[in-house]
């Protein structure tokens, strides 16, 4: 358990906080689905399980043998099994980002330093590498800045940033980033990084989805 009690649910560490929580919440399902769900509230109870009444689900899905990125607004719910279900459909964790981190994130968002940022209209996959699929558009966007990237980390973590720049080596550089990950004891924690340099060959990041502005507005 980390400071500020930000972990609301963790199937691996068997943590569940009963109650209704609001704020900035990131939830993630187990591998290999690895869906990330952003929401401003979550309800956790023994009777009804975990309910996110309105969340934005982000990930990759396979449609007619083609893997494509998506973001979808919906209601989500999971039953909490006594032994904490560990199948691919179930929720791995839900974490409430502390307000002080969100304030830093907000301040970074209004920076005038990056006026020429590309706002994608529809959600698209920038990068995905797993044992079945490889999508890599990093070269195409070399030298560009893209708004609202969501990355999945190899250790089960998530990184959500205000923008990502693709440098001359086609490596992503995230700006104004919230990072969620597990430490060596598998405990979840959240942190804020104004700048996060990632070498794609280091395999720290397994996928990057760029959220479309139209999908967010829907």
């Amino acid at each position: 358990m980390t400071e500020n009690h930000i972990v609301l649910f963790d199937a691996i560490k068997k943590i569940k906080q009963i109650g209704e929580f609001s704020g900035s919440i990131i939830s993630k399902t187990f591998d290999p689905q690895n869906y990330v769900i952003f929401s401003d509230s979550i309800n956790i109870s023994d009777d009804e399980g975990i309910i996110i009444s309105e969340g934005l689900q982000v990930g990759f899905e396979e449609i007619f043998n083609e893997v494509i990125a998506f973001s979808r607004k919906n209601q989500y719910s999971w039953k909490i099994l006594e032994e904490f279900g560990l199948d691919e459909q179930s929720l791995e964790y839900s974490i409430l980002i502390p307000e002080e981190i969100m304030q830093l994130y907000d301040e970074g968002q209004f920076s005038d330093a990056f006026p020429f940022t590309i706002n994608m209209l529809h959600t698209a996959g920038l990068y995905l590498k797993n044992y079945r699929t490889k999508i890599d558009h990093l070269n195409f966007f070399k030298g560009e800045i893209l708004k609202n990237p969501v990355g999945l980390l190899a250790n089960g973590g998530v990184c959500v940033a205000d923008r990502v720049a693709i440098d001359h080596r086609a490596d992503p550089v995230f700006y104004d980033t919230i990072l969620i990950g597990r430490n060596k004891d598998d405990e979840l924690d959240a942190s804020y990084e104004p700048l996060l340099n990632v070498k794609i060959d280091d395999k720290i990041i397994t996928s990057i989805v760029i959220l479309g502005i139209e999908n967010l507005k829907e």
Binding site: F38, F110, N148, L216, K217
Partner: protein
């Protein structure tokens, strides 16, 4: 080999040599709102600043009259006040120069005093946050719905503003500045008070730039009320407005409108615009937290202004405080003033050693001459400076012996 050791230096002669280069320690006898005054206030006036600051602390919206004759140091007081009021935006308007486009000029001065774009950006940012621009969708994403933010801003502010069209356009400019990357540059130019052509204005979907009275007033109200610092407006030469309103009877006109409309109801264009300027100044009381200082030459002028205000709206007089009277220099003040001025002069000429050696000296003048100047000028600071300029010019430029010049003035006493 020549080896010289300096055993004695005639520092007074050296000071005279510096003066002989042609630099008069006393140059400026009229203070203006544009050129900063280096010297502080003399001792007898120090307490004035405390009185003014206490008055500011007690009330948010006041008009504080400061009364003093010509050359008494009213404008100089502005600079001293500005230096002392660290947590205020203190800005200056002289009615001698500005009574047309009053709000626009006032806005330009205020923006300059605030420090321009940087502070303006932080205020518009803060305003947009208050109007809901930082609302996070799904807990994270700022998808600012500009129309929604504008609507929320209008609902929040509409009860405090009479001119709704101006308010709507000002909100348009502020929200475009923060939330619309395609209009940000034009919006910033508009907010900084630049005059804009119809193409830029239509791009921003705004009717007028800030030269429009109601637009400049709305912006002033919003910016001043949301500034981190408190605000003080120093209006110099206030009685000018009364003199213009009365009109110059002696001036000849090719067409005298009284021939057509009768003597009583005729106002010259000048007088009419002065009347409008007064109305605008009185309207400034609607801006929460704006403290106003006005300077006048006499109590009579103040009474005259009070009468005019009373005729317009008696309630406005409630915010007018008891006047502060600026009196002439006391005898001790002239000594302090002279020494401070000479110290600045010597510092600028890298010769402060003179003061270290002669801390109590009034060289090149003498105590007797300073007393003579005080008596002749009746303690009026501007007259005192004029005397200093005259005497120093004689020391610097005349062919008379220095001792003879001193003796001449000492014998005048």
């Amino acid at each position: 080999m020549n080896l010289a050791i300096l055993l004695y230096e005639n520092r007074k002669a050296k000071l005279l040599n510096i003066l002989k280069i042609g630099i008069n320690p006393f140059k400026k006898f009229v203070s203006t709102g544009e050129i900063e005054e280096e010297l502080g206030l003399v001792q007898s006036r120090e307490n004035l600043l405390n009185v003014i600051m206490n008055t500011f602390d007690k009330d948010e919206n006041i008009i504080l009259p400061i009364i003093g004759g010509v050359g008494i140091g009213k404008t100089h007081l502005y600079w001293s006040l500005k230096k002392r009021l660290h947590f205020y935006n203190t800005f200056y308007i002289s009615l001698e120069n500005v009574y047309r486009k009053f709000y626009y000029n006032m806005y330009s001065e205020y923006i300059e005093e605030m420090g321009g774009g940087e502070v303006l950006r932080s205020i518009t940012n803060k305003l947009c946050s208050e109007w809901g621009a930082t609302e996070r969708k799904f807990g994270f994403f700022h998808i600012a719905d500009i129309d929604k933010v504008r609507k929320s801003a209008f609902e929040t502010l509409k009860s405090n503003f009479d001119n709704k069209i101006a308010l709507n356009d000002v909100i348009n400019a502020i929200t475009s500045h923060q939330l619309d990357p395609f209009k940000r540059v034009e919006a910033e130019r508009w907010l900084l008070g630049e005059l804009m052509d119809i193409r830029d204005l239509s791009h921003l979907n705004i009717l007028y730039d800030l030269k429009r009275k109601s637009y400049a007033f709305t912006m002033l109200k919003i910016i001043i009320e949301n500034s981190e610092l408190r605000s003080v407006l120093f209006i110099d030469d206030f009685e000018k407005i009364v003199s213009i309103m009365k009109g110059d009877k002696k001036s000849e006109e090719i067409f005298d409108p009284s021939w057509l409309y009768g003597e009583e109801h005729i106002q010259s264009p000048e007088s009419r615009s002065a009347q409008k300027a007064l109305d605008k100044i009185l309207d400034l009381q609607k801006i929460r937290g704006l403290r106003i200082i006005i300077t006048l030459k006499s109590i009579d002028a103040l009474e005259e202004i009070k009468t005019i205000i009373r005729e317009k709206n008696n309630q406005l007089l409630a915010t007018m405080k008891e006047p502060i009277i600026l009196s002439n220099f006391l005898e001790n003040d002239i000594f302090q003033f002279y020494k401070e001025n000479m110290k600045t002069f010597l510092k600028n000429n890298n010769y402060l050693e003179f003061f270290e050696e002669f801390p109590d000296s009034y060289f090149p003048l003498s105590e007797k001459i300073l007393k003579y100047i005080h008596t002749c000028s009746q303690g009026n600071p501007r007259e005192i400076i004029k005397f200093f300029i005259k005497i120093f010019n004689e020391i610097i430029f005349s062919n008379n012996n220095f001792d003879n010049i001193l003796t001449y003035y000492e014998n005048q006493c």
